[in-house]
Symmetry: D2
């Protein structure tokens, strides 16, 4: 059986499992107050070139999004996002369950355009009834997006400057950040991201960890009592060192980048070969997720060899997702390309 | 100064002020448990032809919407509505602040079409990821809509049957219900509404009351401990008899219908004359709210004589709202028509 | 039938009904942005000797408490109150439904002692696990208390200084404030209250209004977008001028004080006569609520002439509440005293 | 350095680390829908003798408590617990942040007595104002309690029957359940617990897992869409098989019981020796947590060799906690006993 249905079907990168095994005789302080977590935070501070960054680890992406958004917004504010944003679609109402509205605007290639953002903000500010409406209080984008696409450095800079002008924070969901940073065509580095985003996450779960997301805040005063806020959301792990240990490993010896680069490389092989065979794509993605358009017969055929993740359907046109990861092998890719 | 900017700029219908004055020497049980409130509930039960209806009074429309929706939905559910619905636009996030998502779909003439509703429900049910998505748990429409338009009896019946098939309640926001029921062109009666809606409100504030909305539930078991739920939302009025008294008055001697008929009649005079003068309309409304399309010069001119409520703008085209009410006089209308 | 069961069984003070009648031909701006509301706010600013006060009106007491507390607290904070506080007992979980804990400590004569407050605050600050605990983020007291008792000027000053030292606001629930300010034995004036409380309410409902509470904030920057926060709680009245009109009347010609003084005077007549007849009291209240201790036979006897509100029971000892108001007559009192 | 400060300072039991290592080449379905999780659920169903049990895994205890309570309660209900309950003290307001009140009553030896429970329920039911009060909607106890103490089989049966009579569920927080089930003096078996509790958790984190709690519901219809509710709380783990794998290991070959028995045995050695040396105890605990009363000098002395967890202080009397676990060795215990 081939596994291209997602990038989190397998355990963890061997380096992580090994680090875990190696730590089996250690005692750690609870709740992430241990030295390994501190070391991981230091490594991330160094990698982002922001010595003031405040870093916290939680187990999952929806959790990270929910806590960050709930902690940053005031009661009368909502979060601006595209209509394809994870927080708008696949988090079962997690943001609303924390009492905040997701103010959606149409995506373009999975992205929030600066025009769309400007329009949402202007529209609120110019409305005589704005005090009866939800105030746009922060902006959420994902990088890579839910479609695998990437913002350019200049696009991020523009979104950032719009947010700055309106005194609202820019939050970047980096659930698959490593695949974005390692993309051949990107001009966005981690320090760039850390400069343009007021808060962002560095995803572990989909990048070779067992679980875990790092939340990176621009500075320590951004969110009051963030530790307590994590706790009241039920997200404070007793053995928080588990998160520190995994990020310590991912941010050692370029592992996080290497995983991204490896998976992106395989994904582009698939993309290029498929394109040359005449397949078309839902969007042009430079990262580990590729969205093909296929017919029903192709799905039937592929399903004999692998689980097939259908993204959307328009009559007999199906967009399916192919995702590579650290655990995909060249042999897997070759088999898939033969099947296509 | 003329006043067509809304239907709630003046005190209350004389009959209501008189009833209030008349009751000044009475003692009442607190929290709506008084006999006047019971009498008002009985009158509404009679008028809706539903002896099982459970009726509660609260002070305002956003409050009624918030409490009904929060009480009917489970944590993982949202409410389906058009993108122009009051709950989606002008309630400052009241629904989300109660932890629920408003699942919007584009309006057509201010209305939710059965096709759109069907599509929202099917789309959720057919999605493999539906357990990661907000479940559509009820349907909200307003009648008249925010654009003054009305559902036909057959449209209501279809929405009702779709809801029934999916085991979710249909909630009708009747903030301006009287103007809808009294419209010349409508085929919807109050008993019809009571049959098709599982819950609906009968608006008082915009129909001549000082304040107050009646919440009408199909039967007593629909919402557990609704009294306590009203209380925990801060909406239980100590002198609840004030609400009962007003609805008792409105539902006596056809006052509620008469107010609607009177205001609709004046509104149609305005519509017909304006149309004959070449004005165009945002939508074709048969009720007390008329939305004209005018240019900037017209707004400037009118503003010398009356406050002008601009609804939306497209370059030099402005949609303005003209609303009539119980307090509008024929003389006001004549003056307005001269101005147009 | 006599009515001493509460101070809100009757309509409104004649001056309020008259003001309402007089305004029947006026047009008002919506949502409390009218000139009458502004006038009422000015009068309250003058009466409190605080020209910077930010004043908002809402319909009810639970609503006022819920909105103030939800707007002032951050997610990880709770409100300190006695275990007999209205917010801790009789608001159906309104505070918790806004996601905040009420941190209770035992009452002494219905009051929060400075020792108890100090203990709650110190206990949190000195606890190694405080980041796992709800932070005391504000203090709630009622004046008069739920038992009719009053804080002295010096007690308020001490609570205020403790709050100041801990950088948390002091909130005074003044649902029956007028009965407190007019008490013979009190040394607390309205300007005193305005000085010691960062936020307080001036109750209308129990002081002769049809409904309404004024929320008085020390200055305009205390709560961001308070208008929108009122709206999202469903508490923004379309005809907000109704609230302004009533407070305008209550704060004209000393009416608010006169009502308080009148009712307190009658209450003390009852107290003194009852005491002289050997009745004992649950607490020593100088305001319009008197809590007698009686046996079952007395309740049976009184019940033939008036509704009897039982507060608490210990075997055959019942504490019943007798409340006077603007609508109580000397004749009512004489009849009651004959019955006792 | 000795480590008795808590039972979760070390990694995981070797069997769990080994299972993790062994699974490194497997592909798993996401979100706990994998076969290993199913196997773990089957093992727990078998061990509880309840084939209808519905079992879900989440990462932490506060998370489990929050989700269970929020999912079971209606908006107007609260959860009854002792004032020492974890949900009432050390969860940073997690329950209130889900909009529910914790209705506390004084603990006796850390336990909720049937008399106290009866009193809370009767008091609400007999109160004329109960519709203005939070309804007791479920009961929370922990077993072992926060003080290490245990309910007897008959005590559980009584609490269960009271709950049954009032139609409210009994929820048992089993964060340290294994230490309770393995206690020498207990007469409570896992099937007993499963019979008396409508919902309970089986703690992994403090019983040798890296993290994880199993939530055991009496039957599948207890909580609607529990999967979505876990998701909206941000608690759905992408690699949910990690939880299944750990519980599969703990419930294989009696590992869960063996860990409990081993740690309890060491704890009782400490207890008995300390008692014979004249130490006194805060409560009489038969499980892995022992609460000693010591003076400041003793704390100073012990602190040179181990972190000391102080539970509470009364002048120069300190209650400190000594906790054993799967990772405590006989040698550790011997060293500690020498120190005492």
């Amino acid at each position: 059986m081939l596994h291209f249905e997602s990038d989190y079907t397998m355990s963890a990168h061997p380096a992580i499992l090994q680090a875990l095994q190696a730590s089996s005789q250690e005692h750690y302080a609870g709740y992430g107050l241990d030295t390994v977590s501190q070391e991981a935070q230091d490594r991330i501070r160094a990698a982002t070139l922001n010595p003031d960054a405040d870093i916290h680890f939680v187990a999952g992406g929806t959790q990270a999004n929910k806590i960050v958004i709930a902690s940053l917004l005031r009661a009368f504010e909502g979060v601006v996002a595209t209509d394809s944003a994870h927080i708008a679609t696949h988090e079962a109402g997690a943001i609303e369950s924390s009492s905040h509205k997701v103010l959606t605007t149409p995506q373009v290639n999975g992205k929030l355009t600066s025009e769309a953002l400007q329009q949402v903000l202007d529209s609120w500010e110019n409305d005589d009834n704005r005090d009866h409406m939800v105030r746009p209080g922060m902006v959420y984008i994902s990088h890579p997006t839910e479609f695998g696409t990437l913002y350019s450095r200049s696009e991020l800079a523009t979104l950032h400057s719009i947010c700055l002008k309106h005194h609202i924070p820019l939050f970047v969901d980096g659930a698959r950040l490593g695949y974005g940073l390692a993309a051949k065509s990107t001009d966005v580095t981690l320090p760039d991201l850390a400069q343009y985003a007021d808060v962002f996450t560095i995803g572990g779960t989909k990048m070779g960890a067992l679980f875990g997301e790092a939340i990176v805040l621009r500075h320590r005063d951004m969110i009051a009592s963030f530790f307590s806020q994590i706790k009241l959301h039920g997200a404070l792990l007793a053995k928080g060192w588990l998160l520190g240990l995994q990020f310590n490993t991912l941010f050692n010896d370029n592992l996080y980048w290497n995983i991204g680069e490896y998976a992106d490389h395989l994904a582009m092989q698939i993309h290029d070969t498929a394109a040359s065979k005449g397949y078309s794509f839902m969007v042009d993605s430079p990262t580990n997720q590729q969205f093909f358009t296929v017919d029903h017969q192709t799905i039937e055929r592929l399903s004999q060899y692998m689980p097939v993740a259908v993204w959307q359907q328009r009559e007999n046109q199906f967009d399916i997702r192919i995702a590579t990861s650290w655990s995909t092998t060249q042999d897997d890719v070759d088999q898939l390309l033969t099947l296509l």
